[in-house]
Symmetry: C2
Subunit: 409 residues, 2 copies
């Protein structure tokens, strides 16, 4: 049961003009399920992308990078579930390319204008013939109103689809941002991957799309973790179709630029948080904010040490204010000159630790009250500088072990 995650309805997901989505059953791994999704982009769209840093990146990730760096104008994306095409060597690359070739032929574009995405089992060859056989049906299904059906089709072991829209007025024109994502961990059982796709019809300088994509990822998808396992296939795409008719945005710090950025960030954060809320076995949604760091890097070291500690995560599951576990994680986060005498710790509004020791007014009952909530903010003060960063995660429950130990059986 996801933590405070409403299921989107089809009519709240706004179409993005210039982008169509189609789905079909290709039978990649299992029959009778939609497992192939295509995104078709009108001419003139701009695409930004960030991918997993895993050195065992999957074949489709490597092909995406080749096609994006070729400078070709992207016109289509092909997403299959059921098989991640990861750990598949040279043959895997060849099969990912064959899917792009086939899609390009059907659309009358070049293979470099197609981006492939795969999610599913690792170390098995992609049945590319079945993917290719399904392409025409998926193209035939394409419509701008298919966001919910696409969000459902890219699910693997997600318990519910993840999608959202925002609209803003820019220069008197309504501009839409709609996105979808899948994933319930940095890597799922033997199904890999988080995939995120956010699209807007806003008109903006095409040169802004890639840096905006990176900036959005760093405030959303790159700040969530379920279990610290970075997938081989993680991908986040930002598509701008430029068709809304608003005055072109050339500066993201302008009023219109800021409004668009805010809408995009709201969508990206909703999707990233949705993966945590639907995290494997999650019963709590935890925000970890680290303040007073000398750099963002060290804030993140501390935040991830807390977020990945199995002891901290099981304490959240148990609603146990066992806060020494958080201090221990702060201590081993890798800041070699940390002064424990400067550490402050709050749990929501409860001041737990001051100057590295238990706050004199702290009562365990107050900690227990906060720990019993479904949403909790952990705030750590390092007392070293002015940098701050936040990471989102979930707790660690019996169901996590059950899901991951039993999944393939």
């Amino acid at each position: 049961m996801p933590v405070n995650l409403p299921i989107p309805s089809a009519n709240e997901l706004q179409p993005v003009s210039g982008l169509q989505l189609g789905v079909t059953e290709a039978g990649v791994r299992k029959a009778n399920r939609k497992d192939l999704t295509v995104l078709l982009l009108d001419e003139g769209a701009t695409v930004g992308a960030v991918f997993t840093q895993n050195r065992f990146s999957a074949a489709p990730v490597q092909v995406c990078l080749e096609h994006l760096t070729s400078g070709a104008a992207i016109r289509a994306m092909v997403i299959n579930t059921g098989n991640a095409n990861a750990g598949t060597g040279v043959e895997g690359l060849s099969r990912a390319r064959s899917v792009c070739d086939a899609m390009a032929a059907r659309l009358g574009v070049t293979a470099q204008q197609v981006l492939p995405f795969s999610t599913g089992v690792i170390m098995e060859q992609l049945p590319a013939d079945r993917v290719i056989a399904g392409l025409s049906a998926a193209i035939g299904d394409a419509s701008a109103n298919n966001w919910l059906r696409a969000a459902q089709a890219i699910m693997t072991t997600d318990t519910q689809p993840k999608a959202i829209s925002r609209q803003v007025m820019l220069g008197g024109r309504s501009v839409t941002v709609t996105g979808m994502a899948k994933g319930a961990g940095m890597i799922r059982p033997n199904m890999a991957t988080m995939l995120g796709f956010v699209a807007t019809d806003a008109s903006l300088d095409p040169g802004l799309v890639q840096p905006l994509c990176k900036s959005l990822a760093d405030q959303s998808f790159n700040r969530v973790t379920v279990d610290g396992d970075t997938s081989t296939n993680d991908s986040f795409l930002l598509v701008a179709t430029h068709q809304a008719g608003n005055p072109q945005i050339t500066d993201l710090s302008s009023a219109d630029g800021a409004a668009l950025t805010a809408a995009l960030l709201a969508v990206a954060q909703h999707l990233a948080h949705a993966m945590v809320r639907d995290g494997e076995g999650a019963t709590k949604f935890i925000s970890i904010r680290v303040e007073g760091g000398k750099s963002t890097v060290e804030c993140l070291k501390v935040a991830y040490a807390i977020a990945h500690s199995p002891l901290v995560k099981t304490a959240f599951f148990a609603s146990d204010p066992n806060l020494g576990r958080i201090l221990a994680a702060v201590g081993y986060a890798g800041i070699t000159d940390l002064d424990q005498g400067l550490i402050e710790l709050h749990l929501d509004d409860v001041h737990v630790v001051t100057r590295g020791g238990r706050h004199p007014n702290y009562q365990e009952a107050d900690g227990a009250r906060v720990m019993a909530q479904a949403e909790i903010t952990v705030r750590v003060g390092l007392g070293r500088g002015n940098c701050t960063d936040t990471v989102w995660t979930c707790d660690f429950s019996h169901d996590y072990v059950t899901i991951n130990a039993d999944y393939r059986s």
Copy 2:
């Protein structure tokens, strides 16, 4: 139920001449249990030590470092369970010092000649008065034959005591190495800590004791992990009493030096492995050997990434040869120029992955056969150089969550 860990018997634990151990009930946290242990060292003993790298190191660790760096000849160690004296600020330091003061007064030595150790709950002040009140009884109990009773008294949530002896002939004299340890994770529930104490009566150059201690730790206690949570209190001590009458060892690469080192390493590795075998909820004992690295550091990065991956650990628990999870962990271990096309993976004798892809002869049934064993060796080849290192860990079971989620209740 620990994995293949026999319970030591009192008569197999050999006394180390020049070292006596005593235990008593001090009532630190619970009544009717032995929770205070003292080690008394004859004049002339040499002590080496390594401690947690956690920046939230506990008060006793800080006091140990002060006393060891003062150059004073160590004559006693005081170990309490029930309270870790960690996250206790200035008051915690004062209390740890008061225990050393009281012990020193009873022995007629200086406080700098006493080392304190604490393990138990974090963020609560140590009831130093109760520890001090128990010192005389513990001293009165001291005997060279008390290793098993001491190994029992330093347990917290360990399911069984961990101790072992080895004897070697050096220059016609029998030399003894006996050690004990506690811990079932780098950090236990809200009980913290692994503690390891290894003693030998061998005569050796006192200047060799500290480097030998560090070297032993790096091949034993510093190569095991249960959950990646580094305790605030971890301590490993090597005591040499020099009383065996063997010709003094001045070179560890001599025949006698090598024989002593081998005996010490066998004891230290047994104790370190014992902590993993008794790891929280452990059902499997896993050796992770990484070969072909450019440096030991990168071998360890890969080994720990595998050892700490919740997905890998749950797959071991499930006896599921879900080996893509291991490849994914190799990929995100932080070697930025890793060539996935050079990766080899063996599971015991089964060749699973070659050149980064599934080995053509690999059958899942072979992987399943190895995964069903209680002891498994994972061997990863990086194809980058000639360095090798090994880490030992356990699997991740429902019981881990149960122990850590329910412990304090």
